[in-house]
Structures are given as C-alpha cells and as structure tokens.
C-alpha cells in the first residue's frame, strides 16, 4: 500500500484525532444556525487521513508477497495431505458380489440382525492414530424438516422438555401417548450399524481395540448434552414416563453399559445429532490408538470388517462406507486446499509479472506526461 500519510493542513492545530466522535454528528446541529461553526478538523472534514491508492506500483509487491507466501503453504498442505493414509470401503452391498448384498433390504426390526464380513487389505501401514469413520451418501441430514426436528432443551436434561418435547419434533414427538426421548427425526434415525475391525494374520483374527470415547466434541458431551436430573443415577428411573424412538431397538438409557456414556451423553448419539452440512458426509465412529512407538497402529496386511447391518439406505439410494484415516495438523486427506493455495499463489505471482510489464510499459505515461491541465 502507498505510504501517503498526508496530515492535511490543520488551521486550528487540533491534534490528530481530536475531532468529536460520532456523537457530535447527531448532537451539534441545532445551534449551528446562529453562530459560526466550530473549526474542528472533524466538522471541516479535515481530519488527518491516510490516503492510499491502489496503483500497479503499490499492488505489485503485494501480489509477489502473496504468491511467495501461498505457494509454499500450498506445497506444504499438499505434501501433508498426500502423506495421510486413508482407506475407504463401501459396504452398502449394492453389487451382488458383495458379502453385504444379502442385507441390502434390511429393515429396522429384523431379528436376528443381519451380519456380514468384508475382508480387505491395507497396502501401507497406518503409522499414527487411526480414526474410524462411517460415511453416508445421499442422506439429507441437512434437510430443513430434519435439521429442526430435535429438542435441545430435552437433550440438555430439562425435565419438563423430557416429558413434553417441542412441537418441532413432530411426527417423532410422541408414540402411543408417551413422549419420545430423545424426540425428533434426527434421533429417530440414529445410525445403528456396528462395525468391528479384525486384523487377519495367518487366519487368526485379532480384534482391534476401538475406543468409543472422545469422538464427540468435548463441549457437546459435557455441556450441551445432559441426562435428565433427579434422585439417584438410575437412568431407567430418570427416563421414566418416556418411550424410545420408534426405530430404536432399545431405549436411550440402554445405549451403553457405561454410565458416563449412556443416555443422552452417549457419544455415538451426540455425533449423530450434529447434523452434517452436505448430503454426503462422514462421522467419527471409533478411535484406534497407537499402542507403542515401535509398531504402527495398523500394519499393512489383511483385515476384516464385521458389520452388524441394521441401517437401511437402499430405499433412498444411499451408500454406506467405512473409512480409516490418519490425521495431521490439517485434518484428513484433502487435496483441495493445497492445490487451491498453489493455484492462487501462482496466479498472484503471474499477475504480479503481468502488472510489472504493464507498469513498465504504461507506467511513465501515467505518472508524469499525460496529466491533463
């Protein structure tokens, strides 16, 4: 930017910034008629001001600097993104060959649950902590009717909302004259497939420990979502008088065996309740922690995924995926950001060069000779 700090001539010697503020603009008008207006820099529109102008000369360095900063950042992001290991399996079972094809038309209340196993091979080992996601496609969690179909005060443990949920929950508000807890379409359609991961080595399957805590935002788990309060900690008693969501096999107080992961503060539930922005989304399912510094979290090799297939997606042409991913400081694999940075940086650099040429070719004409009058 131009360094053109011209403090305009101030006849009265008011120091910079002595003009009355916005308040004077509304207040001082009435008396003006009769007496001479104040000679303040503000009223005379003579406040000292910095007057930059965007000329090729001043913008050129900015373009080069942006180019020089953005390109390395972009390269950094791109490299980081490429170093991230990500593995994705579609287990919807659309293809007849898929082991899960038999479960394709599963419904909510099928007993016994349909299970299937998919085997896969990791070509590269996953060195750091691995995050296990499930992904859904063509699932409109951001549909307006869906997004608003929840009652945040019920989820926050408010007892009156527990028994009298918000109207927004309709048509998932009551069932057989009993209030549904948690009410609403979001809760009702909670993802309920169970995924288990096994490392297959010489035909022996070793279960990989999947940690189910720490997948939801800390603030959600500890502040926004709370179980209803009352005498004792018996969730069954606290949820007395409510009924389970229609599609759920079990009531909310039986989601998990551990008391600090049960009821409304069940992390799988909390994760599901954060509605996704786009119709294709993934949600964090489990964490796989690196055990020791010597071994990678997931070695390259054969694995098998056991799926308890409860969640029907075929009816709306949806897809289900399981994603394993490592995470860097900038999140998961995302080539977009790196490429975008490199592109923008290069464009800026290129524009800088173009401007430089233009500046040299036309610059003199502009600055000295050709000014009229």
């Amino acid at each position: 930017m131009a360094v053109n700090y011209s403090a305009k001539e101030e006849a009265d010697g008011h120091p910079a910034g002595a003009g009355p503020g916005g308040g004077a603009a509304t207040g001082g008008g009435g008396a003006v008629k009769t007496r001479k207006p104040d000679n303040t820099a503000f009223k005379q529109q003579r406040l000292p001001a910095w007057q930059p102008i965007l000329t090729a000369g001043t913008v050129l360095p900015a373009f080069f600097i942006i180019g020089l900063i953005f390109i390395p950042i972009g390269i950094g992001i791109f490299v980081t993104s490429n170093n991230i290991r990500e593995y994705e399996i579609d287990y919807t079972g659309i293809e007849p060959s898929s082991p899960c094809n038999k479960c394709l038309n599963v419904s909510w209340d099928s007993t016994p649950p349909c299970t299937c196993t998919i085997n896969f091979t990791l070509e590269h080992s996953f060195e750091s902590n691995v995050f296990m996601y499930y992904g859904l496609s063509n699932f409109y969690q951001n549909h307006r009717r869906y997004v608003k179909s929840r009652d945040d005060s019920q989820l926050n443990g408010d007892n009156s909302s527990l028994l009298n949920p918000s109207k927004e929950c309709e048509p998932y508000r009551t069932n057989e004259d009993k209030p549904i807890a948690p009410c609403g379409a979001i809760a009702n359609s909670m993802f309920n497939d169970t995924l288990e991961l096994y490392h297959v080595e010489n035909d022996t399957r070793t279960a990989i420990t999947l940690i189910k805590k720490g997948i939801a935002w800390w603030t959600d788990k500890n502040v926004k979502f709370r179980n209803p309060t009352g005498d004792g900690n018996n969730l069954t008693a606290l949820f007395q008088g409510t009924t389970k969501p229609v599609n759920w096999p079990k009531p909310v107080y039986m989601l998990d065996s551990e008391p600090d992961n049960n009821g409304f503060i069940n992390e799988d539930f909390i994760v599901w309740m954060r509605t996704a922005a786009l119709p294709t989304f993934r949600k964090l399912y489990r964490l796989i922690e690196r055990k020791s510094n010597l071994q990678p979290t997931l070695q390259a090799g054969k694995y098998s995924l056991d799926i308890t297939y409860n969640y029907p997606v075929h009816s709306f042409d949806g897809r289900k995926r399981m994603i394993l991913s490592t995470i860097s400081w900038m999140g998961g694999k995302n080539p977009f950001l790196g490429i975008a940075y490199i592109t923008v940086g290069s464009i800026c650099f290129f524009l800088g060069v173009v401007l430089l040429i233009i500046h040299h070719k036309y610059g003199n004409r502009n600055t000295s000779a050709d000014i009229p009058n």
């Binding site: 007496r35 951001n142 009717r145 945040d152 959600d220 502040v223 995470i327 600055t367 000295s368």
Partner: protein, 1077 residues
C-alpha cells in the same frame, strides 16, 4: 360583531378558532396513524408482508429475523417523527397560547391567542407578530400607516407599508375603536399572500354606511412582524387554519433525486432476481421431490397434516418460504442507512466554515437532505441576477436631465450644478425632475433616534433613514438628497421636501399608482402648494418611452442605453400636469376600480393604463448594483465543471448583458447570439431560429473536425441572449401543431451555448424556462438560485432550489440556503461531489454485500434438497445488515474523500456527471462481483468440507459450522472490500472497519459461548470456537478472502493503469506530489 339592523340578511358563518395546528398526530392517534403512514411506503410494506408471511406459514427463518430489523426501522422512524411532531405541538402551543391584546367593552384585555375569534379587535405592539390576519384599522402613526416585515412569510426582509382603512384611522383609543360599527365582506380564504379583496361598511350613527375598498395593503398577515410603529389596531378576519400563512404551509411537493430513482430501479431488478430465485428453487424442489424416496425418506417423515395438504397450496407456501429465505437481498437497513447518511451528511454542509458568512453571521441551511447528492449532479444552474449575482446594495450613480448628466458626488464637492443654473427653460424641468424623484416613491422615513440593527445602519450618520421595499428607491432618494433635495416626511397625506435653498415645500399626495412588475412603473399624483396637480411617473425605459409625447427622448435614450451597457440599473422619469378636471376623472376611475370586488387587478391595470399616458420626459437615473464578491470566479469554476449557467433576470438586456460580462459568464471571445424581440421584428422567428442553429451547428461540426485533427483546442464560445417576449413566442403552441419544432430548435441552440442570458423575464417565465430544460430529452439536473419572492416559482420547479441572502425564512421554499453566491462553488463542486460519490458507493455496496450474503443460501438449496434450510444461523441473518456490516459503510458514506476538497475546487470536472457511478455498467459490475464472491465463498467451503476431515482431532463439523465458515469469510470480505474502496482513512475509519470485524468475532464467541437459557435451540453452541480451533478452517478463510478480493483489486489496478479516469489521474498526481516532497 352584529351588524346594525337594516342591513341585508347576514348568514352566520362558522369561523375556525385561532388555533394553528401544524402537528400531524395527537397523543391518541399517534401509533395507528404513524404506523399507517409508515406502511404506506412501499419498502416498509414489503417488509411487513415478509414478516407476516413468516408469522403465518412455516418458514425457514424465524419471524424475528425480519421482524426485529423492521421493528427497529419503524421504531426509529416513529421516534423521529414523534419527536418532530412533539416539537410542532410545542411550537403550536407556544403560538396558540401567546398573549394577545383584545379590545373588549372598551378595555384592553389579555387573552391567549387561540381564543381569538373572527371579528375581534386586536392591538399589536411594535416587534410583535400578528396573531391572525387582520384588517388594519388604525395605527399610532398619524398618517395611518404601519411597517411590516414579511420575512417569515415570503422572505422579504424589507419593510412594507400598509395603510389603515381611511374611515377608522383616526381611532386611537380603545374606547373609540370599541365604538366602531362596521361590517366587512371579504373573499373566501386563499393562500395567495399578495391578493386580497374585501369591502368594509362603516356605520355612522344613523347615516348610510360608507363603503371602503379593502386591498392587500389593508391586510396584515399572520406571521408578519410590526416594525417602527408603536401599536396598531386591527380586526381579525381570517383566523387559525384559514390564515394565509396556514394555507401556505401545505403543498410542498417532494423532490426525488436521481440517485433515489436509480436506487428504485435497482430495487426492482433485485426484486425480479429474488422472485426468479424463489421460482427456480420451487420448481426444482418439485422436480427433485418427484421421487418419493427423496420427498419423504424413512428417516425424515412428514406429519399427517403436511401429507394431506393441497399440492398447489403447498407449492405456493414453498414459494413464499423461498422468498422469505432470500428476502435479505433487499435489505431493510439500506433505507435506514441512506436516510441516516443524508441526514447526518447534511451537517457537514452546515458546519462548513468556508460557507459561513461573517457579515450576516449566517451559515448555509439545509432544508431537505434528500437532495444532497443531487448537488453534485447539477448540469444547469439558473441564477437570478439582482441580489444573487449582485449585491442588491444600490448606489445612486448619476442622473441625466434633458440629456445633461449630474453626478452626485461632484456636487458634494461643491462644484455645483454648473452651466444650467438660471436658464429658465431647463430650470423648471430640472426642478421638476428632482421633485419627481423626491415625490414619486413609497419610501418611508424613520427618524434615527431609535435605530435598529438593520442593514440600513450604515446610513445612520445621516439625519434620517429611508425604508422601502425596493432598494432602488432608497438609493434614488438618498442620491437626490446629495443633490440637494431632501425628502422629509409624509404627514397627513402631505409630502414635505427640503429644496436646495433649504425651503420646505409641501405637496399633497393625492394618489399612488403603485409599482407592479407587469407595468414596470409607478406614479404619484400630487398637488403642489400652488395648486398645480402633477402626475410623476418613474419606471423602466421600455414602459416610459412609449408613453412620452414630449422631451429629449433621443438624448436620454442614448444615455440610458450607455448606462445599461455599463451594467447600471436605469429608470426613466416623466411627468404630466393634470387639470383639476382630469384629476377628478382619474380619481373617480381609480376609486371605482379599487372598490370592485371582482377582477380588481385587471380593472386597476386598465385605469392605470388610461391615466399614465402623454408624459413629458424629464430624465433618467442610473443606479449601480455591485457584483457579489467572487461571483465571476464562481461562475468560471462552474463553467469549467461543465455546468451551464443561465442568468434569468427581469432586468433589461443591456444591463443584464453587462453584468454577465462583468461576472465572466460571457467572455471577450464569446460570440453573442441574440434572440430578442427586436431581431424577431426584423425577421420572422422561424428565420432567426434557423439562422442561429445553423451558426451553432456549423461551429460544433467544425469543432469535431478540429479535435479529430488535433489542430485547434480553443473553441468558440457561444452566448445566447433571449428576452421574455421572444421566449413566449417560442413557447407558444402554434395552431398547426408543430409547436415542438421551435422548442426543439431552441433547445438545440441552447445546448451548444456555454452561457445563456434570459432577460425581461416574468417570474412565471423563469419557472417555464427551468421546466423546459428539465423536461428536455436528456433530463438534465437543474438548480435554480435566487433571493426573492419572484424566484420562488423557479426554485420550486428546479431539481434543487437555493435561496441566497434575502430570503432567510422564505428558504422554506428552497431546498438549501446559502449566504452568498460564491458559496455555490464549494457547495456544488465539493460538497455535492462528495455526497454523490459517497451515496453512489453506499447504494452499490449495499446491493453487493447482500448479493454476497444471499447467493450462498441460494446455492445451498441445491445441496439440501431445496428444503429452504438456511445456511446461516438466525442471529447472523438478523445482525448481518444491522450491525456487522452497517457501520463501516455508513461511516464511509459520511467521510470518504476520494480526492481532497481543494483538488475538487481546482479541477472541478471529475467524472460524476449524469449519474455516472450508478449507470447500468457499474451496477452490473457490482452485482457480478457479488455473485462471484458468493460462489467463491460457497464452493470454497464446499470443497473444504466435502467428505473430508477438517479438524486435527478427527471430530466432524456439522452444517452450522459450514454456514459459520461461509459467514465469516463473507463478513471479512465485504468489510475488506470496503476498506479497499476507502481512500480516506481517518482514525474513525480505522476504528469502524477493524472495530466491526472485532465486534463480529466477539459477538460470535459470546453467541456460541453460552447455553442461552431462553432459546429453544442451541445449535451455535461452541461452533465458532471449534471452527477457529481447526487449522484448515483458518487456511480456508484466508484463501477465500484473498480469492474474492483479487478480481476487484486487479480490476482497479488495471483500469487505473490502462484507462484511468480523470479522478484517478488527479489522485495519482497528488500522490506523486506527496511522494516527491
């Protein structure tokens, strides 16, 4: 007051009481009436509809989002209007309760003004204003006159003389007045301040009533002030809302500025965009939903009532819901901001020290801030001459008697009148001339013991002060005084003068044939002490010469013309001697005409015409009216800025032309084209017009050739002089229907003339000219400036009307008032320019920022199943226009100076003419920039979020984080875009721009930091913090802001480099000057 029995049947009429009600509301009807008034505005009504739609149907955003801003706007406006109305109530009360002296049963009683009734007799003391329209009965002055200023009515601050009714002027005590029995007939109330006809019948004990005519000279108007008269008695005839002042309050038409008009056009465009967006989305929604698994998948089922709803009704509701979702594209706050900008911005005009006039202690006055930006758009300036271009401070220069020139100050030096003294033939004429000047006027004498602070104070060294409605008359009487003849006073209809030998001479004043602008002359009939009856007449040469039968016409005419060329105001003086018989005839005719209730004006004019003829020419006078300081400089600057200056004056051609030369409207090399009565008499109007247009067009043709070959740069200036008669010929529609022809031709000529002088204009013709130009095919913006009542019509006609010097209070007819003509320069070239640049940026920027705001929502519909899911949280939707992005642009639109004020004065022609900054090209550029930015925001965020992880702890973000990211980029981009446009960074700008960004961050932290107890949703809880804790979100925000600002920066730099506008060249020039020093 009951008439005595025996008069014709008196039908009692209901008269209003004397309350003046200027307030619009009462305490009770304020809320409903104000709301009704406000919702009559189309914009408010639109927002009300949106709000109601939100209340009635199930819409994506809560009614709060549009209800709150609307409530804010309505409340602010209501408070403002309520306050103004409260002030009016207070003023009304003060006026209605101010004490008035009544005569009741012969005693003086004090009562409140509002209790005054028609027929009450009122006493008014000096410097009091009249409580209602009064018929002047008697005054403390012996001659039954009083002086009045009507400054608050028509802006003429000079003293006017009013005359008491002849029969009652002798009543001086309360008892005498109370004994009066009379009836008054008068016309129905009408707003014309200068017209009144009525009749008073005075009943003497048992005699037949004597009828007297009443004219406007007997009428004292409410609002006028009594001056130099101890007290008067009057009878109330029009009270309350029927007074002429109250009737004049109404009917001031609203003027709309060009910016406002383009703003409304843009609004319509945006409304179309809005409707088409909603339509597209509705159609797509139903196309998309046609498959049931999309319309109602198992996880997201409808309620029973929703399912059963009629399809078409449902579609219509959906359409409305989309309208509501996108309605922010037309922001409520734009109206508020524009109004605030205009209101607050106008203070800079009144604050301007350079436009403050030390002499009068007055600064500029802004009556309507609606037209601020129009000041920068002026293409034609119509100016009055007398009092506007000139000082209206007359100085007697010389007189010419029978072809011999007398100059007052020569005589003062004791040289004397020289050769003519004693020559009998001349003696009488010369004597008569001086007597004529001493007698033929309406000047009043005020003794100097109680000098008030009027502008006449510079004359206080003399023994007496002359007061008159016409400064010319004062100058003449004073000039004559220096020549040895002093007008002493008018006492009991005798005018006394002191002649050169210090002898008092007495003349009985028989009749005054008062001045009017149509006759352009006035006469008096006096009877000398010897019993001779003289009629003295003075007036414009054109109205005197045709009536002269004797005298040295040629010599005097040549002198008059010579004086006129020098820019002096000339008057001719003539007389005739009347026999007693002639006089009684004349008197009878006058009396009849004055008594007429209908067409009195016309009849009087006919009588005057009969009486004022067969004059003997005595001589002529010349009075100088000096140019206002810097008038020439101002006109030059205006012309340099491409503004065409027209002078419209009632003066004669030569005088006016001389003034025009003096103020550099015409220069030496200006070729003068004349379109005057004289020329038209020689040739036909047709030929003259065609000749002129040929001249002008040939010139313009050669000009283009010259400029092409680059040979000649000094162009031939043309100046046009046209007079009133010629103009009316041009304007007159012709029988064959080709009236347009002449007008077009005339306009064509005018367009090619750099300066036009219209002389001999009647007030209405002035307005006609303004209208003609205003409605010509380019629709230029016009400004009229004048100082007196005769300019009001053109001031009302023009886009912007300005009143100078005289009309302090009459300024209510004007849009702006400035103390001096020279202030016009800064007003138009600096303030007007700034206002225009500021408001055009304001309007464009508002549309831009709302496109940026709403277009991502539109795009989001494609990804959420056209379900009207809002992208942003309710708080963001509500506050975006109210607080996050409102103050920086408001401040910009108050403070921006893209070039300095001094530069603007030096280089006035900086491309803003013809609404340049609000043309379609600029509008489309801004809109596309908005769409581009919106696309960048949305798809940037989309690709950032699409099926990937953006946190370093593996947790996922939801739709609200997505919206918040877009919103953050949005707020930063639009604010930084404004920062890029700001050329004038004061500390306040820094404070506002960075302050509002900081406010956004602080607000978001707070909004997401707490579980808000009274909200039924907590969707924003910790969303903003979580977003900020993510590295990619930061990188994404920075990237997207850069990308959105890049094209605008690039466009600015390239345009400046390759096709710089005049403004940009100046900026660069200044810039380099600063760098190099």
């Amino acid at each position: 007051r009951e008439p005595p029995p025996g008069t014709e049947a008196y039908i009692p009429q209901r008269f209003p009481d004397n309350r003046i009600v200027s307030s619009k509301y009462t305490f009770w009807n304020f809320i409903p009436k104000n709301l009704f008034e406000q919702f009559r505005r189309i914009a408010n009504f639109y927002f009300l509809i949106i709000f109601l739609v939100q209340l009635i149907i199930d819409t994506p955003t809560s009614p709060v989002t549009s209800g709150l801003p609307l409530l804010f706007v309505i409340t602010v406006t209501a408070i403002k209007q309520g306050y103004e109305d409260w002030l009016r109530h207070k003023a009304d009360n003060a006026m209605n309760q101010c004490p008035v002296h009544f005569i009741q049963h012969g005693k003086l009683v004090r009562k409140q003004s509002r209790k005054l009734r028609v027929g009450d007799i009122v006493m008014v003391k000096e410097d009091e204003t009249f409580p209602c329209d009064l018929i002047f009965l008697s005054s403390s002055r012996g001659d039954g006159t009083c002086f009045v200023t009507t400054a608050s009515l028509d802006g003429e601050s000079s003293h006017k003389t009013h005359y008491a009714v002849q029969d009652t002027k002798a009543f001086h005590s309360e008892q005498e007045i109370d004994a009066l029995h009379a009836t008054i007939e008068c016309e129905q109330p009408q707003p014309d301040l200068y017209k009144f006809v009525g009749r008073i019948n005075v009943y003497h004990d048992r005699n037949e009533p004597t009828a007297r005519p009443l004219g406007s000279e007997n009428l004292l108007l409410r609002g006028a002030t009594l001056k130099n008269t101890e007290k008067i008695f009057g009878v109330a005839i029009y009270t309350g809302m029927e007074t002429k002042m109250a009737l004049n309050y109404q009917s001031k038409s609203q003027k709309r500025s060009a910016v406002e008009k383009s703003m409304n056009v843009f609004l319509i465009v945006y409304l179309c965009i809005l409707i088409s967006k909603a339509l597209i989305n509705t159609v797509l929604k139903y196309v998309w939903q046609s498959e049931p698994f999309r319309d109602e998948p198992w996880y997201n089922q409808k309620t029973e009532p929703e399912r059963k709803r009629n399809q078409f009704l449902q579609a219509f509701t959906d359409f409305l819901a989309f309208m509501v979702l996108f309605n922010y594209i037309i922001p409520v706050s734009m109206y508020v901001t524009v109004e605030m900008q205009k209101f607050l911005g106008s203070y800079f005009l009144t604050w301007d020290e350079e436009m403050f006039d030390e002499d009068t202690g007055e600064g500029p006055l802004v009556n309507t801030s609606d037209l601020n930006e129009e000041l920068g758009q002026i293409e034609y300036v119509f100016t009055d001459k007398t009092g506007t271009l000139t000082e209206n401070n007359m100085e007697f220069v010389e007189c010419c008697i029978e072809g011999h020139v007398y100059i007052p100050h020569v005589i003062c030096n004791g040289i004397g009148l020289g050769p003519f003294k004693g020559q009998v033939t001349y003696y009488t004429r010369e004597e008569l001339f001086f007597r004529a000047l001493c007698l033929c006027h309406t000047v009043q004498v005020k003794d100097d013991d109680n000098v008030d602070g009027l502008k006449k104070s510079q004359l206080s060294r003399r023994s007496r002060i002359y007061i008159s409605s016409s400064p010319d008359e004062v100058a003449l009487v004073e000039g004559i005084q220096r020549l040895g003849y002093t007008y002493l006073c008018l006492k009991d209809n005798y005018m006394e003068i002191l002649n050169r030998e210090n002898n008092r001479e007495k003349f009985e004043l028989l009749e005054v044939l008062s001045f009017d602008s149509v006759r352009r002359r006035m006469s008096v009939i006096v009877k000398s002490s010897t019993g001779d009856i003289f009629l003295f007449c003075k007036g414009a040469d054109s109205s005197i010469f045709p009536r002269v039968k004797e005298g040295k016409i040629d010599q005097i005419r040549s002198r008059v013309e010579r004086n006129a060329v020098e820019g002096l105001r000339t008057l001719c003086v003539a007389y005739k001697k009347l026999t007693a018989e002639e006089y009684s005839n004349a008197q009878k005719m006058l009396q009849n005409a004055k008594l007429a209730l209908q067409d009195r004006e016309k009849k009087l004019a006919e009588v005057y015409e009969k009486i004022e003829r067969d004059f003997i020419l005595l001589g002529a006078t010349a009075v100088e009216d000096r140019l206002q300081e810097k008038a020439a400089d101002t006109i030059e600057a205006l012309q340099k800025a491409g503004i065409k200056v027209w002078v419209l004056t009632g003066d004669k051609m030569e005088t006016a032309a001389a003034t025009c030369y003096a103020c550099k409207l015409f220069r030496r090399n200006t070729q003068i084209l004349e379109l005057t009565t004289k020329k038209i008499e020689e040739q036909s109007l047709h030929d003259v017009l065609f000749d002129l247009s040929k001249t002008v067009l040939r010139h313009s043709g050669s000009l283009t050739r010259d400029s092409l070959s680059g040979l000649s740069t000094d162009m031939q200036d043309y100046g046009l002089i046209i007079d009133g008669a010629a103009l009316s010929l041009i304007m007159k529609p012709r029988q064959d229907g080709s009236s347009g022809n002449y007008r077009e031709l005339f306009l064509e000529i005018c367009r090619n003339c750099s300066a036009v002088l219209c002389c001999r204009m009647a007030p209405l013709q002035k307005a006609q000219i303004v209208k003609l130009i205003k409605l010509s095919k380019e629709h230029p913006i016009t400004l009229a400036i004048g100082d007196g009542a005769n300019d009001v019509s053109m001031i009302l006609e023009a886009h912007v009307g300005i009143i100078g010097k005289e009309g302090r209070q009459a300024a209510r007819n004007s849009d702006y008032a400035i103390p001096k003509f020279k202030h016009l320069k800064k007003m138009l070239l600096v303030h007007g320019h700034f206002y225009y640049v500021r408001i055009s940026e304001l309007v464009q920027y508002f549309f831009y920022k709302n496109v940026c705001f709403i277009f991502p929502q539109f795009l989001y519909q494609f990804f959420c199943g056209f379900s009207q899911q809002p992208l942003y949280d309710t708080a963001y939707l509500t506050l975006y226009n109210i607080s996050f992005t409102s103050l920086p642009i408001l401040l910009y639109s108050l403070m921006e100076q893209h070039v300095s004020a001094d530069t603007l004065k030096r280089e006035p022609s900086l491309d803003v003419a013809k609404n340049a900054l609000l043309r379609w090209r600029a509008f489309i550029y801004w809109t596309f920039l908005g769409v581009f930015d919106a696309v960048v925001f949305f798809f940037g965020a989309y690709f950032l979020f699409d099926n990937t992880i953006v946190t370093s702890n593996g947790q996922m973000f939801g739709n609200w984080t997505f919206g918040t990211l877009v919103f953050t980029v949005l707020v930063f981009t639009v604010t930084l875009k404004l920062a890029l446009d700001t050329h004038y960074w004061t500390w306040i700008n820094h404070f506002m721009i960075w302050g509002s960004l900081l406010f956004y961050i602080v607000f978001s932290l707070l909004w997401g930091g707490i579980i808000w107890p009274f909200l039924n949703y907590q969707r924003m809880y910790y969303v903003f913090m979580q977003m900020l804790s993510s590295g990619p979100a930061w990188l994404g925000i920075i990237l997207l802001i850069t990308v959105s600002l890049l094209p605008d920066v690039l466009k600015k730099v390239l345009c400046r480099q390759l096709w710089p506008t005049a403004t940009e060249r100046i900026q660069v020039k200044i810039f380099f000057c600063v760098i190099s020093f």
